[in-house]
């Protein structure tokens, strides 16, 4: 299990780093897919099988496809990409600047009290249990989020339609 966890985390971080560093937008989008799939794998390790599938279907299957579609649609030429002359310098100072914060976070993590963790019960995280939980305990937030999504959807349609003369 540990090896799988390490591998997945490695790929997730690698994808994230590549996303920030790459010059071409398509490469960034592709690295993001790598991160998302690795994250999905981490969800699967936590026996959240529904989240695992949804992560792949929604993020990798739909959203990033849209990203890549738009990037290809714009068809940015190599010459039109922004020049990043001081990229390495910025990166170097960025890393230096973040080191103290990382140190603090790591220290905080190690200072946390240890707790006996129990294995999740059978059927944890599968669709049925998740749905029951959502519709029994968390009904109001669930409905509120649906309304929020609906508002966003209608907003997109309103912005997207042609102006009627």
């Amino acid at each position: 299990m540990d090896i799988i966890f390490l591998l997945l985390s490695f790929f997730a971080i690698l994808g994230a780093v590549c996303m920030v560093l790459s010059h071409q937008p398509v490469h960034s989008a592709l690295s993001l897919i790598l991160t998302i799939i690795a994250l999905a794998g981490l969800f699967a390790l936590l026996s959240a099988s529904f989240l695992f599938m949804v992560q792949i279907i929604v993020y990798a299957g739909a959203i990033i496809t849209l990203f890549i579609f738009i990037i290809m649609f714009l068809n940015v030429k190599e010459a039109n990409l922004p020049k990043e002359p001081n990229k390495n310098m910025t990166l170097f100072f960025g890393i230096i600047g973040l080191l103290p914060l990382n140190y603090l976070i790591l220290k905080a993590l190690y200072m946390m009290p240890s707790k006996q963790l129990v294995l999740a019960h059978d059927g944890f995280g599968d669709i049925k249990n998740l749905g029951m939980e959502l519709f029994e305990k968390w009904l109001l937030p669930f409905e509120l989020i649906s309304i929020l999504l609906l508002v966003a959807l209608i907003g997109a349609v309103v912005y997207g339609r042609k102006e009627e003369v």
Binding site: I33, M53, I56, I57, G61, T65, I68, F69, M72
Partner: protein
């Protein structure tokens, strides 16, 4: 892990590979012969090994050999060589993975152990299919983009837009199906379809959910990039679309991946709407109860079918000269058919005489179901091929209109209708 479970797992993997990868040459053969038939010509039938033609199947193997040994050419304009090679791999792998969750037979019970008869024993079912079918479009988009060619880029953008539009309708049509069956596990879904509706109609998905079946089959055509939705290739407008620059085995992977994806779509359609591995009116329980009668029926039916087939073969695969290659092949095949028949009859007779016990009954049932599944899969694949050579290609705007303005509202209406009926009458 004892030896039985290892054996069953290995058999499952072999079956999954056979149904997906192994089906590719047969599907290519079906495609060409059916195309020939529809266009009133013969299609490839001359390729042979020592006189064995098998109606042209050998042509597919010759074709595969050609693809493997061709020069793997890469145009100078291709700057992203890594992504260029990665693209066909993505298409092929995701197509192959989608097939891994299709159940070929009901859960097999040997002694105390219960085995799932699928390539990967996980119960994510439909979701797994959706996830990896969605990933395969990256291969197409990446291939077109890395080719550094306007036609390829256009093809891959068309593919992307098409998959995004049709995935929405596909997901929504699946929701109503899942409400009816009350489960996402494909085995549960198939077992639901083993029941009878009003006592005499098999409760297949296509009877219970006709609208969802229609929408799903249409969107599955679009997902598999097959005509009438193959604008991503569009050879009359875009040369070859996303695979214009590909040659040899990198093209071969795209080519095989398309057939594997088609086979996986067919498998899901069969599982969701056409009763999966169930014979109509004969569900697993019934088969297990009446296994002796099934054997008797098989002992009578198989020779009859073989006889009719041999007559057909002698009538069609012959030539005036006695020593012609066709006549020799027919004679050889006839001998093989007789041999198989004798083996089957003797084997089944022995089983009937000595009885085969509970485990034997379960295994025999599973075998019958695997064969049923294979036959249904091939029939569905045939429909894919039939549609491809019958319908013309959609124009791009027609395709988007169909996806968003017709299929999507229909699917949503179907969900509301299904949910209401399920709540009122109780599933």
């Amino acid at each position: 892990m004892n030896s039985i479970s290892v054996t069953v797992v290995i058999i499952n993997i072999i079956l999954a590979v056979l149904f997906s990868l192994g089906a590719a040459p047969i599907l290519v053969w079906i495609e060409r012969r059916v195309a020939g038939f529809i266009q009133d010509r013969m299609g490839p039938n001359r390729c042979h090994i020592k006189g064995i033609r098998l109606g042209g199947i050998i042509q597919s193997f010759a074709d595969m050999l050609k693809l493997v040994f061709k020069e793997d050419f890469e145009a100078n304009g291709i700057k992203q060589s890594f992504f260029f090679s990665l693209a066909p791999v993505i298409v092929f792998c995701s197509a192959f993975l989608t097939f891994m969750v299709m159940p070929f037979a009901d859960d097999l019970k040997i002694g105390e152990q219960v085995f799932r008869m699928q390539g990967l024993p996980i119960d994510l079912g439909v979701l797994w299919f959706l996830a990896f079918a969605g990933l395969s479009v990256y291969g197409i988009m990446l291939g077109g983009w890395a080719s550094n060619n306007k036609y390829s880029l256009l093809g891959s953008m068309r593919a992307g837009a098409q998959v995004i539009s049709y995935e929405a309708a596909m997901g929504l049509s699946l929701v109503s199906v899942l409400i009816t069956y009350g489960s996402i596990h494909l085995v549960d879904i198939v077992n639901f379809q083993g029941q009878l509706l009003f006592g005499f109609i098999p409760a297949w998905g296509i009877v219970v959910q006709p609208l969802a079946a229609l929408i799903f089959i249409i969107t599955a055509f679009a997902e598999a990039n097959r005509t009438p939705f193959d604008i991503a290739e569009g050879e009359s407008e875009l040369v070859g679309g996303f695979h214009t620059e590909y040659s040899a085995m990198r093209f071969g992977l795209f080519f095989v991946g398309e057939y594997v994806a088609m086979s996986a779509s067919s498998a899901l359609i069969v599982t969701l709407f056409l009763g999966g591995y169930h014979l109509p009116w004969l569900n697993t329980h019934f088969l297990q109860q009446n296994i002796s009668w099934v054997f008797v029926f098989l002992m009578i039916a198989i020779p009859c079918v073989s006889y009719i087939f041999s007559q057909w073969m002698f009538k069609n695969n012959r030539w005036l000269e006695v020593d012609n290659i066709r006549n020799r092949e027919s004679k050889l095949l006839f001998k093989i058919i007789v041999g198989i028949n004798v083996l089957i009859i003797v084997g089944l007779g022995l089983f009937l005489a000595f009885g085969i016990g509970e485990n034997g009954t379960n295994i025999a049932t599973a075998m019958i179901q695997v064969v049923t599944f294979a036959v249904k899969l091939m029939l569905m694949n045939f429909i894919f091929v039939w549609v491809r050579w019958t319908l013309p290609r959609f124009r791009y705007d027609q395709l988007q209109d169909l996806g968003w303005k017709i299929l999507m509202p229909l699917a949503i209406a179907n969900i509301v209708l299904t949910a209401t009926i399920v709540v009122v009458f109780g599933a």
